[in-house]
Symmetry: C2
Subunit: 380 residues, 2 copies
């Protein structure tokens, strides 16, 4: 038997049928060969708050001890933060409305066995490509609803959905949507949540802090609403792995049942303290996200001048397609020039590039490279 045949036999022997059938998610490249201007994984170009370092440093003395499995202080910090934002005082959240996880990816993963297993969920046909991957792992049926031609979500497609999908257990929406950057308003989401009272509606707000309307303040009004956020983007902490969900106590309890059947301690001591500090430093948070919004608008206008169709974005990235130059060629051209962006070789979006908003200096290099590519290929 050849080595290859032997390995295939072993795989069939030892891997479960489930594992053999999985099609894992591929994260954006983390190149090791050289230094790129990295606009491919929606990281924040600005460092986290300085007080994050101090907090982490302070947590180093207790590393021999397990972290708090319930992450109570972090959950309180998060509920307090949202209560402070709510000017009219309607949102009264407590730590019991908060679930924390190892990045919002883990929070989303736990949502599947908590709410959806064996029944159907619905999400748009262009959205975060991890959703179908979770669905396969947790053997959940899913239906994809097409976006409009302009990549916007048609709200009416999602209202009163249980009349159209008999075994509906949930709806997943990224807002702003990934990788398009387009967003729904708070009122549009409220319509979807209110008209599906027997289904769990998960709003993935990974990119909400860059100009979108959060629906966290709707949580006290709707028991079926789960809002998921992350510290990876707007708090500049992709390297720390902390995400969270806000929802009714029932939904949070379901997530806890799953988490406590999987891993008692998902957030380490350093991440716990770093996350708390990041949420407390609202000045740093506002300054950096406002910089990113300003840069985004400037780059957006300049790309339109260069004959790009730029989807209206409320995220820390732009989703763009050029009127004449193929996205795949622009992707390779940028890579050669030392600029990494994200290209998805998938139906409907294979002529688009997703470009993370970096610093002004990084975006100037990006724009210059893009101009060169368009002129070069224009002349060839």
């Amino acid at each position: 038997m050849t080595e290859k045949l032997k390995r295939e036999k072993m795989m069939r022997n030892y891997m479960s049928q489930l594992a053999l059938g999985l099609k894992p998610y591929t994260p954006g490249e983390q190149p090791k060969d050289k230094t790129y201007i990295k606009l491919n994984t929606n990281e924040n170009p600005y460092p986290p708050s300085e007080i994050v370092k101090t907090a982490i440093y302070g947590a180093m003395d207790k590393l021999r001890l397990y972290p708090d499995p319930e992450a109570t202080e972090l959950r309180e910090t998060i509920s307090d933060y949202f209560n402070r934002q709510d000017k009219d005082g309607s949102a009264r959240l407590t730590a019991e409305n908060v679930f924390v996880g190892n990045g919002s990816d883990e929070v989303l993963a736990f949502a599947f066995p908590a709410f959806f297993t064996a029944r159907s969920i619905v999400f748009p046909n262009v959205t975060y490509s991890f959703y179908p991957v979770y669905a396969n792992l947790f053997q959940t049926q899913y239906r994809e609803i097409p976006l409009r031609e302009d990549f916007s979500i048609k709200v009416e497609d999602y209202t009163s959905l249980s009349q159209k999908v008999s075994d509906l257990s949930g709806i997943l929406l990224s807002n702003p949507n990934a990788p398009t950057g387009r967003s729904l308003t708070r009122d549009e989401i409220a319509q979807i949540v209110a008209s599906n009272p027997d289904s769990v509606v998960v709003i993935d707000e990974a990119y909400i802090d860059f100009g979108g309307q959060s629906v966290v303040d709707l949580v006290p009004l709707y028991d079926n609403l789960l809002v998921v956020q992350t510290l990876s983007k707007s708090r500049s902490l992709a390297g720390l792995r902390v995400g969270f969900a806000i929802g009714s106590e029932t939904l949070i309890q379901a997530l806890n049942r799953v988490k406590n059947s999987f891993n008692s301690y998902t957030i380490d001591r350093l991440a716990m303290e770093g996350a708390k500090a990041a949420i407390l430093d609202e000045t740093h948070f506002d300054a950096t996200r406002n910089s990113i919004i300003l840069t985004r608008e400037r780059v957006s206008a300049r790309l339109a001048d260069l004959d790009f169709n730029v989807l209206p974005s409320k995220a820390n990235f732009l989703f763009i397609t050029h009127k004449t130059k193929p996205a795949s060629a622009l992707f390779s051209g940028l890579r050669k020039k030392g600029v990494l962006v994200r290209y998805f070789d998938k139906p409907l979006i294979d002529n688009f590039l997703r470009v993370t908003i970096g610093t002004d200096e990084e975006m100037d290099v990006f724009l210059k490279c893009m101009e060169e590519l368009i002129i070069e290929s224009g002349n060839s």
Copy 2:
């Protein structure tokens, strides 16, 4: 409708059938009310290597960037470590033989969908109580094989098991076993692994560094052997959440398929660097684990003098039962005196206490309290 009825209706509405049926694992108490001598969660009483702090400090500058999703450097550090231990050079491991996760709990959790889903697994009736919890979450059938009366594992019960269990997919053994502390030899485990070539044998070596015989060096010989270890115990890093598995490339690939369908980045930048440093500092590792072994033997002898039956332990804890005093009463008595140990209110072991080995000073307080309790209750 009362609040309680309303909540129960909501739970049935929104929680999946699976989540409703889960019986989550309960970790040992992390008390917040006062300072205890904490001998209840098998934490290491000694701090981690000083170079861990330096490594973590050095990683703080890149927190805005995602960690390496493949954790390549950490996996190389681990395979290199085991190759150095192997004096006769038979174990030639590479990073492709290593999987890393958020604590060995997460590694074990991933093993279920990777290898076992929908087929049967087998483990002892007294062992790490997380195993049946994972099995419920991932809907895996399990059979429990009784230990001998002296709480030892009967090797013959596990050899050629597929002749007895028709749909066998795996065997899970803690070595040393938890919470008994009793261990199997390397040769006994080799017999089990060799006689079950079509099943995955998972050896959970969370406590192996305190005197047991590891079977990591058997990995190159058996494609069906997965050895799981953690940095929480012998490397004093319970607060950092890093565990790993060593196995054939096929087994590691199966774990990666599951992990990459769940969460691309399970280990944050700080944990990654801290873990590497801890594995490199073998001097600190040997000094602290040897101290714990010496303390264990001393405490063990003293407890025998106090009329305890002390199971022979190769772990950083002792499993003890007193000839006349009930374990539950001793547990409460110790708690009142400020010493926390672990008591499992479960069949077969409900007259035992699991006592983590602390520093010599901590164990002297523990022994003094125990003496008082035995004399007090003897007089009452």
